[in-house]
């Protein structure tokens, strides 16, 4: 089995497995975020649970971080290897004749998403880690609000139109990444059903609906706060 993950196909499979995990995480993240549109309190409750439950914090979170890091690192490694497989490039190459823009530029959409994740960490994750692990405050409270701080922070962050624009742009890249990545992951796992309409349709719906939903949430809070 160890030999398998050293092979080119094994790496593909590993990419696909991490992708499945990340796509599942994305769905879950979206579901929680969507709560913020309906009810700040509910959003706070769930957020606090996720932020303080030991299983989520000490088991799921490290796995998630590993998944994210793995997917990026492996993505870069494969990209470098693939580049080495052709050291002299074509003078003229008509890639659009036989493949989609999304499929040819996964590395760029991926880098855009990486940049977004850094921004996202700076915005939410680092302050959260700071509060809990540096300051030791596990109450989820905040000096300016009663109850939990999560919904408040969310609203504050989305005041800045530049940040909102950056988020929207990142989600566009996420959609592009998913539009190829979703079916690609299944193909890598050996699903010859890639051609079957159902999988492709599900893939399209997922790839467009989830990022669009995130964009909606960001815009919703940006517009509603005033």
């Amino acid at each position: 089995m160890s030999g398998f993950f050293k092979s080119s196909i094994g790496r593909k499979v590993a990419m696909a497995l991490s992708a499945f995990f990340l796509m599942f995480f994305l769905l879950q993240h979206f579901a929680i975020n969507l709560l913020s549109v309906f009810s700040g309190d509910l959003f706070n409750e769930v957020s606090h649970f996720m932020g303080t439950n030991w299983l989520i914090q000490f088991v799921m979170q490290p796995i998630l971080i590993f998944g994210v890091v793995f997917h990026f690192v492996m993505g870069f490694i494969l990209e470098i290897r693939n580049k080495q497989a052709r050291t002299i490039s074509y003078v003229k190459n008509n890639g659009s004749a036989n493949s989609t823009w999304m499929s040819r530029n996964m590395i760029y959409s991926g880098i855009a998403i990486l940049a977004f994740i850094i921004l996202h960490f700076i915005d939410f994750w680092f302050p959260e880690i700071n509060a809990k692990y540096i300051k030791g405050d596990w109450t989820g409270g905040h000096e300016l609000v009663d109850g939990y701080r999560y919904f408040h922070e969310l609203q504050v962050k989305f005041e800045n139109p530049i940040r909102v624009a950056a988020y929207v742009l990142a989600f566009v890249f996420l959609a592009l990444h998913l539009l190829h990545g979703f079916t690609s992951a299944f193909q890598s796992m050996g699903a010859s059903t890639i051609r079957k309409k159902r999988l492709q349709t599900i893939g399209r719906i997922y790839s467009i609906a989830i990022p669009l939903g995130f964009i909606f949430i960001a815009l919703f809070h940006h517009l509603n706060h005033h």
């Binding site: 036989n98 989609t100 190829h180 051609r195």
Partner: protein, 247 residues
């Protein structure tokens, strides 16, 4: 029609190459692309220049020898054809045509448009066969019934001509369509199943060793493949390797 050709010229594997411009005139639309190249070469021979070296043989799209990257596409703009089957009716008078060799680290240029595809040979030698003696003392051919569906599918995979267009066109120079087709042909037939696990392991290992890139499922290979080999063959190879590694 009159055309401008931009062609990669490279003296040998050690030299550095460059693009050189040529003009050809009075090209008939009924000519094949290689016949147009013959016209150019005849012209070059007559003016005392060295003709452009390119691989070709059967000129009917089956030997897999011809290998040109024309206007940014393996075997040119037409679909389901090799370079030798590409006809000049696909081009217009006054066009500029860029002609390059298939590019991949695993396909080093030998001269001009000729590349070395011996990496494909070594992959086949790593397991692209059924270990049966050629004695003829095998069982009667009809004692192994094979469903028409499986036989047809195996045949579709087996039509690969080993030209390397999949590698040339893949942004990662991946050889997975080629290897997948061979793995699939045998995996689909009962005769091939005995050695299926070793075969896929060895062939993939050799493929990796040769320095081909990884598949990112862009699907370009399937579109440019002159024989329309399906991407499903790559999926099947992935399954076969997973199966082989789990067992």
């Amino acid at each position: 029609m009159n055309l401008t050709l931009k062609i990669w010229r490279q003296k040998d594997s050690k030299s550095k190459g460059q693009m050189v411009d040529y003009k050809v005139t009075d090209i008939s639309e009924h000519m094949s692309f290689l016949e147009m190249m013959d016209v150019l070469n005849e012209q070059l021979v007559n003016t005392g220049e060295e003709p452009v070296a390119f691989d070709h043989d059967c000129r009917e799209g089956i030997c897999g020898m011809c290998s040109m990257y024309i206007n940014g596409e393996a075997h040119g703009p037409d679909r389901g054809v090799t370079t030798c089957q590409l006809h000049m009716r696909m081009f217009k008078d006054g066009d500029t045509i860029t002609i390059e060799p298939f590019r991949a680290t695993a396909f080093p240029v030998i001269k001009d448009l000729v590349v070395d595809r011996s990496s494909f040979e070594r992959i086949q030698q790593a397991g692209g066969y059924i270990s049966v003696n050629t004695s003829g003392n095998t069982q009667d051919a009809n004692s192994i019934p094979i469903s028409k569906h499986a036989a047809d599918e195996a045949m579709d995979a087996a039509t690969c001509i080993g030209c390397g267009a999949c590698v040339a066109t893949c942004k990662n120079s991946s050889a997975m369509l080629f290897v997948g087709a061979k793995v699939s042909q045998y995996a689909l037939l009962p005769q091939g199943q005995v050695e299926a696990a070793d075969r896929v392991r060895n062939m993939v290992a050799q493929m990796d060793l040769e320095g081909f890139g990884n598949c990112t499922n862009t699907g370009a290979c399937e579109i440019e493949c002159p024989k329309g080999i399906s991407l499903d063959n790559i999926a099947r190879m992935n399954r076969e390797l997973m199966k082989a590694s789990l067992s």
